[in-house]
């Protein structure tokens, strides 16, 4: 397979027993995973084509324990791979043989809820959905909603600056976090940001969000919570061409309407998701938009009427409004299980590039050409309002040649995204998956500058070191 890992440090491997013994002294029973069987659960994430067995897995129950483990690893020059739930699609949480995984999944408590200030303090291993569930009784929620929200942690969301279907209106992780507690590589604990809307000095919080576990281990976070709208209603719009759907999206925004969500699916994706969720998606169209609006019934009626009028001008073929909470749930279930549903019909790799939305029809056509060129198939789901594409390249994992082709097709698609003015990743992160494509988007000076900033936090490249930056050119200062 195409993506390289650094050669494990033989000296560290030779010292494994001593390292494990040292870690065992720092953690309570159950806090350290050492047996090969149990370690196997941590050898990959949702980028399952690659796996590496870690040296050991530490599961601290407190910031103090996490700090003790970090200090120990630092003193012994042992590499560390931070981990939340391991749902990264970019291989961001995949370990390496000479590294200790530090997982925060045991730290999953709500520490404080403040409805007056609309903030909440949580331990970093809490799942994304559990945050919303903890404040739902008062009508509040935490806005960024990755489709993996049942499993993924706020730590991982911070690591990847994750997004979700409703980010068009509410923003992504970085727009919804006010502060973190973070353990630095040498075990020092720092508070970055707080519970106010801005913090003094440089925006280190903005730097930490999306840093993919390279700057420290986040153990707590203060998040913004919002009062949910009175109601929400998704509507399905079926089009005969993706050009029409794309033009309708542009016209809706042009009319001054920012729906909460505008999700696009092409025909293969519609078929896969409908078979799975029975959401009532139209099967006789080439492109489907799920557009959700919020507010009171009258407000939703009003906004939807405007949207429908625009869609009609762009030749919409079917318009189907959700008439009940159950229908709404089914519509979103279909969209949010797009990856899982696809996984039932084929193996896939999920791309995540972003493009200027004006280039949509052209890019979709070229994606189709690229994938066909490799003799493969593709299903497209994406966040239409912001141009964040998720082409799912389908292949057979048991056929090494096909797997290789899928990887190549994916890389070509990402090169295309950059070529038209977009980027390699909109919300899943670079991890190992896009690491070797970073030179496509950035010049050496751009990457050097990022690495110099990285070096402020981790001179010795101990933190998640195989990720993000191409292996062949690495600097710290």
């Amino acid at each position: 397979m195409g993506i390289a890992f650094p050669t494990p440090d033989a000296d560290i491997l030779a010292r494994r027993e001593a390292i494990v013994a040292g870690l065992a002294r720092l953690l309570p029973p159950g806090g350290l995973v050492t047996s090969e069987d149990e370690r196997r659960a941590f050898e990959t994430d949702a980028f399952t084509a690659y796996r590496r067995m870690p040296l050991a897995v530490a599961l601290p129950s407190s910031t103090e324990e996490a700090a003790a483990v970090m200090r120990f690893c630092h003193e012994n020059s042992v590499k560390v791979v931070p981990r939340g739930a391991g749902t990264s699609l970019a291989g961001g949480a995949i370990p390496q043989e000479d590294a200790v995984v530090i997982g925060v999944s045991k730290m999953n408590r709500v520490l404080d809820v403040n409805f007056k200030d609309r903030t909440m303090r949580v331990e970093a291993g809490i799942t994304n959905l559990a945050i919303s569930n903890a404040v739902m009784h008062e009508g509040f929620f935490y806005a960024p909603d990755p489709s993996s929200q049942l499993a993924c942690t706020i730590a991982g969301n911070i690591g990847m600056n994750s997004g979700g279907a409703h980010c068009l209106k509410y923003g992504v992780t970085t727009n919804n976090i006010l502060g973190v507690k973070m353990v630095l590589v040498d075990g020092t604990v720092v508070e970055i940001g707080g519970d106010a809307l801005d913090a003094p000095g440089y925006d280190l919080l903005g730097l930490v969000v999306g840093s993919e576990g390279q700057l420290g281990i986040v153990t707590e976070a203060t998040v913004r919570i919002l009062r949910a709208a009175e109601g929400a209603r998704p509507v399905l719009f079926g089009f005969e061409t993706s050009e029409q759907a794309g033009a309708a999206v542009a016209a809706i925004i042009g009319a001054g309407i920012i729906p909460v969500a505008m999700e696009f699916m092409d025909k293969p994706a519609i078929e896969i998701c409908e078979a799975f969720a029975h959401a009532g998606y139209p099967l006789d169209v080439e492109a489907l938009l799920i557009i959700e609006v919020e507010g009171s019934d009258e407000e939703m009626d009003f906004t939807l009427a405007r949207i429908v009028e625009i869609a009609r001008k762009h030749g919409v073929k079917t318009v189907k409004e959700s008439k009940s909470a159950m229908e709404t749930a089914a519509i979103w279930k279909g969209r949010k299980s797009a990856f899982g549903a696809t996984g039932r019909v084929a193996d896939y790799i999920c791309m995540d590039g972003t493009i200027p939305t004006g280039r949509l029809p052209e890019v979709l056509r070229r994606i189709d050409e690229i994938v066909k060129g490799y003799g493969l198939r593709v299903a497209n789901v994406f966040h239409a309002g912001d141009g964040n594409l998720h082409p799912l390249v389908l292949y057979d994992v048991n056929d090494p040649e096909e797997a290789h082709k899928a990887e190549e097709a994916g890389n070509d698609i990402l090169r295309l995204c950059v070529e038209v003015g977009g980027c390699l990743t909109g919300e899943h992160g670079v991890g190992i998956e896009k690491r070797d494509l970073m030179n496509v988007q950035f010049d050496p000076v751009d990457l050097d500058q990022q690495m110099r900033v990285r070096g402020v936090f981790d001179r010795g490249w101990l933190l998640n070191p195989a990720k993000v930056f191409p292996l062949d050119r690495r600097i710290t200062a």
Partner: protein, 395 residues
């Protein structure tokens, strides 16, 4: 008089920085200098200005994105956006009324100051809308980060570092912002006679409602010395009518109040944005305090007895502007003392240079964060060329 360099292109800018580096000549980095009174007085030998790097480089209304060279006047950006019914979401502060400065602020300056107005509570800060930058670092290299698409997590987010760095990390040559449509209608609910604590409670009630408040301010001295509390909602006309009705009902326990619309309301929000209530008398020092709203009124109460103080709240109580006599430390110890234990922090935005040289203008940070801060500075500007000492002494 110090030498002023005004490059006309990014490559000239990079050359100017490289020359300054070779000559070990620290630079005052600025656009038009309307905010040069903010920060510690920097020890610089020359001024580097972006004013002659001007012009919109990209505007795609349907993609909600605008890009411009750093020296472009904010007014030019706002006019271009207004012509297409759009705006910068974060309502950037115009510091001229408060600082008494002249000239048109540049778009690079609002990015460098992370200047965000009343709509910060709903649409995010300047740093949330800033999606791409190009800048020249202290090595004279042209660096890009972020881009023109609004979802982008490729690599480390240096865009955030540049926002609010006050020209101390690099000289921005181009900035790209996410924009939003201007709302069709705006209404402002006005409540009268509430004390600070009650007013903030009212604002929290409004902000914790489903009715999408986009401005929440309290003026203890009001307009005619009657305390005035403001709640703004924006959107399509029927929706604004509906929500303002619901909000009035919800806020009944705080008084009946009335509704303000049109130009008078817009003018009032502009004054909240620019803190122009505190512009006069000009000899007062002005502080900007950021704190969790529920802790704001008590912190202010602890300041009573510190002499003649005037203040008002924005961001639902989370932003407090305070004016007091510019004597001694201009109230630094008292204000920071009042904030102790709240997690809040204070920035001195207006004071004579002698005071700004003597007190911490920006909130001091923990030793661990200061070490990181120094490291970040060194990683971008190893020779401390840009605005040395403006943010923190020795930085």
């Amino acid at each position: 008089m110090t030498a002023v360099s005004e490059p006309t292109s990014e490559s000239e800018l990079a050359e100017a920085v490289a020359e300054a580096r070779a000559a070990r000549m620290p630079l005052a980095v600025q656009g038009r200098g309307t905010k040069s009174g903010i920060g510690r007085p920097a020890q610089t030998a020359a001024t580097l200005s972006t004013v002659r790097m001007s012009g919109i480089t990209l505007y795609e209304p349907a993609e909600l994105v605008i890009g411009a060279k750093a020296g472009t006047p904010v007014a030019e950006i706002e006019a271009a956006l207004a012509a297409r019914g759009q705006m910068l979401p974060f309502e950037p502060i115009d510091y001229r009324p408060l600082l008494g400065s002249e000239g048109g602020p540049t778009v690079g300056g609002i990015a460098a100051g992370n200047l965000s107005g009343p709509r910060r509570i709903s649409a995010g800060a300047c740093r949330d809308s800033l999606i791409g930058v190009r800048f020249v670092n202290g090595r004279g290299e042209i660096v890009k980060n972020g881009g023109r698409v609004m979802k982008n997590v490729t690599g480390l987010d240096l865009v955030k570092l540049m926002a609010g760095s006050w020209g101390t990390l690099g000289v921005m040559s181009e900035v790209i912002f996410k924009v939003l449509p201007v709302a069709e209608t705006t209404a402002t609910l006005v409540l009268h006679g509430l004390d600070d604590a009650r007013a903030i409670e009212a604002l929290s009630t409004a902000l914790g409602s489903p009715f999408e408040v986009t401005g929440a301010a309290h003026l203890p001295l009001g307009i005619d010395r009657v305390p005035t509390t403001l709640v703004r909602i924006e959107g399509f006309a029927p929706s604004v009518a509906y929500r303002s009705g619901r909000l009035r009902a919800l806020l009944k326990p705080f008084g009946t109040g009335d509704v303000l619309e049109g130009a008078p309301a817009a003018d009032l929000w502009r004054r909240v944005r620019d803190a122009s209530f505190l512009a006069e008398p000009r000899d007062r020092a002005v502080w900007r305090v950021s704190v969790a709203p529920s802790k704001a009124a008590a912190a202010l109460a602890r300041l009573r007895g510190e002499g003649e103080i005037r203040h008002f709240y924005d961001w639902g109580g989370g932003l407090v502007w305070i004016a007091l006599p510019a004597a001694g430390d201009a109230g630094a110890a008292a204000i920071r003392g009042a904030l102790a234990g709240t997690g809040g922090h204070a920035t001195l935005v207006r004071a004579p240079a002698e005071i700004r040289a003597a007190v911490d203008v920006f909130e001091p940070q923990s030793p661990a964060l200061m070490t990181i801060t120094e490291g970040v500075k060194a990683s971008l500007d190893p020779d401390r060329l840009f605005n040395p000492g403006r943010l923190y002494a020795g930085l």
